[in-house]
């Protein structure tokens, strides 16, 4: 216990990130189930309006800040030193500080539930002015800001740490142009975090000053401007959505290359695309503000369209990597393919709403809910499960059961699409997001019933995943150090790796050191 509380070993810290993000994932998943239970039929009274506001706020906040983003960072903690042949990260104590700030920050956000007035109820965006009065007056809203400030600090510290590690602690011969794509994506993510998170911290700090010290940054009655909050929030918020996806691009790339038994197609293009996406994503924030009428819609629309280009490059590269490969459809690969299919829908709907005339129609409707769930849920979350199946043997020396894993994938894929395809149509029939109930008009009752049924199937899939973990750990089937025939450095050490990662460092002569070392290769 004390050992884990005080550890500075990047592998243990990485594992604690994975465990804590999965715990938050379970809570956020229960909240999602509550949302779909409430919306299953029109006019439902399972949750009242204020309870419903808290539930969707905590669900979105947790999924974004406490699950998808920190899982990527946590996995990077575990993998980056192994992939570049370093004994640990550059600043191990800073790393541990980041972990604990994150865990405590997450608990702080949820602690709002125990306060009078309940948890934050403003949505994950906590717009001004609702973050000042009404629903936002309780201590729960303050705990939301404090908790997320802590996780922001944590994320910034960890990003600096990972950047320094990659730049300075690569093994002999591991030049920048030889590091695996996952590590490259983490470099891009870290740069993005360092650019974007200070803006969020500023917005939250200003909101706290308004609430407690009589500031009026966002209060029009005193010459403040609520649009300023939106600028600060989305200057962080859009880069954040790429913080939620770039690490998962990396995961998918590694999985596809490994299970297609081919080198990554267009490695250099892949890296350039990652940085192009990161750079462009810093110039599109106000596509979330088209309907305010206070921003330059043509500018933000044009830059948003541009992002589709490097994203398309990535798709070409993934398909090119699979092309004529000898593809093994094991569980991680299934999740990678699920990612490609789902994320494609998310990307296409993104380009649609990047056009202001369409966005005026779609804004704040269920169409938007469909868009971002296809990117974050169908994209990142599928890659997250792929990563768990792929690196579980490396982390714990135990392989997860393939047979159960296929069922997990099938349930999640079916359930996910059943839940979210109807939402696009709900949006087009005019259903607004964040409403706690709706009238029985048009197809809304049918569409919502299907979505809720889909959510039930997904819940079963997630439960089955945890059963898979338990079954596999009990069974403890012996596993080789490299069960998949991977190509990168982490597969050249034992599973799990020893303290300081490598007993002896292998010579690195190419982008695929593990392949070079295998008998029969040149």
């Amino acid at each position: 216990m004390i050992e884990w509380l005080t550890t500075t070993d990047h592998k243990k810290i990485g594992i604690m990130y994975v465990v804590s993000t999965l715990s938050f994932f379970v809570i956020a998943g229960v909240l999602a189930a509550l949302i779909r239970a409430q919306l299953a039929v029109p006019g439902n009274t399972l949750l009242g309006p204020h309870a419903y506001n808290q539930v969707f706020t905590l669900h979105g906040t947790a999924m974004i800040f406490l699950v998808i983003a920190p899982f990527g960072i946590g996995l990077a903690n575990y993998l980056v030193p192994l992939q570049i042949g370093a004994p640990d990260v550059a600043f191990p104590r800073l790393n541990a500080t980041g972990l604990w700030l994150f865990v405590l920050g997450g608990i702080t956000v949820f602690a709002g539930l125990a306060t009078y007035g309940g948890a934050a109820a403003t949505g994950w965006t906590a717009y001004a002015p609702i973050n000042e009065f009404f629903v936002g007056t309780g201590a729960g809203q303050d705990l939301f800001f404090i908790g997320l400030l802590m996780t922001s600090i944590s994320t910034i510290l960890t990003s600096i740490n990972l950047l320094v590690t990659v730049f300075l602690f690569r093994a002999p011969g591991m030049t920048m142009w030889r590091i695996p794509i996952f590590t490259w994506e983490i470099v891009a993510t870290a740069v993005l975090i360092i650019m974007a998170f200070p803006s969020l911290a500023a917005a939250f700090a200003m909101a706290l000053i308004e609430r407690h010290l009589g500031g009026h940054f966002f209060d029009a009655a005193y010459g403040g401007n609520p649009i300023l909050y939106q600028h600060l929030f989305w200057f962080f918020g859009h880069p954040e959505v790429y913080v939620l996806i770039l690490p998962y691009f990396g995961i998918v790339t590694e999985i596809i290359a490994t299970f297609s038994r081919k080198p990554v197609f267009g490695y250099v293009g892949m890296v350039i695309a990652a940085f192009a996406i990161a750079a462009l994503s810093l110039g599109v924030w106000a596509h979330h503000m088209f309907t305010t009428g206070a921003v330059s819609n043509p500018f933000f629309s044009a830059v948003s369209f541009l992002i589709a280009v490097p994203t398309g490059v990535k798709f070409v590269n993934w398909i090119g990597t699979m092309w004529k490969g000898s593809i093994a459809l094991q569980v991680p690969m299934l999740f990678a393919i699920g990612f490609l299919l789902n994320f494609l829908i998310g990307g296409i709907t993104g380009v649609m709403i990047a056009s202001p005339p369409i966005d005026y129609q779609a804004h704040d409707s269920y169409f938007i809910v469909q868009h971002f769930h296809y990117t974050i849920g169908g994209g990142s979350m599928f890659a997250l499960f792929g990563a768990l199946y792929f690196w579980f043997p490396k982390m714990f020396g135990v392989k997860l059961e393939e047979g159960i894993g296929r069922w997990v994938f099938a349930l999640l894929f079916l359930g996910f699409n059943a839940t979210f395809i109807p939402m696009g149509f709900m949006g087009m029939e005019g259903m607004a997001r964040r409403v706690y109930t709706y009238p029985a008009v048009g197809h809304l009752p049918l569409l919502n019933a299907v979505a809720s049924a889909g959510a039930l199937i997904m819940t079963l899939g997630v439960a089955l995943f945890f059963i898979d973990v338990l079954v596999s750990i009990r069974r403890r089937a012996p596993v080789e150090d490299d069960p998949w025939g991977g190509y990168s450095l982490e597969w050249m050490t034992t599973s799990p790796p020893p303290e300081f990662n490598f007993k002896t460092l292998p010579a690195i002569r190419s982008r695929r050191p593990a392949i070079d070392s295998r008998p029969g290769s040149v």
């Binding site: 500075t8 800073l94 541990a96 405590l104 404090i146 011969g173 106000a286 921003v295």
Partner: protein
């Protein structure tokens, strides 16, 4: 090091270009231009700092032909395995933030605790 400088210089240039373009299309709106300009300046500073501070750094990882044997004996510094301070610093941060809002005493305790932790952490890292 070259890769680091290149990356940051490139990003800074991109930020500057976007800031200028943004100014021309949306100059009635100052927040965005300010955010972009700050970003470009920050990145440029990081790149410039690296050039000055790490003038004669030489990294094994930058040489494609270097082998582990050639690098043997190089000092990477010491890596800790355990330290009590990180988790305590996180706890003190929480105390400081919540204290600031609701209880000056808790806030002061958090601040004092944090300073103590950083002091001991400094001592620890000077030793190992």
């Amino acid at each position: 090091m070259r890769s680091f400088v290149g990356l940051f210089a490139f990003a800074a240039a991109f930020g500057a270009v976007i800031a200028v373009v943004y100014w021309f299309v949306a100059h009635e709106e100052a927040a965005g231009t300010a955010l972009l300009a700050v970003m470009a300046t920050g990145l440029a500073f990081a790149a410039a700092y690296a050039v000055v501070a790490e003038r004669d750094a030489r990294l094994e990882g930058d040489d494609p032909n270097e082998t582990p044997q050639m690098a043997a004996g190089d000092d990477l510094g010491v890596f800790t395995t355990n330290s009590p301070w990180p988790v305590l610093i996180a706890l003190c941060t929480l105390a400081l933030f919540t204290g600031l809002l609701w209880s000056p005493l808790l806030g002061i305790a958090g601040l004092v605790g944090m300073i103590l932790c950083f002091w001991r952490l400094g001592a620890e890292s000077a030793r190992t």
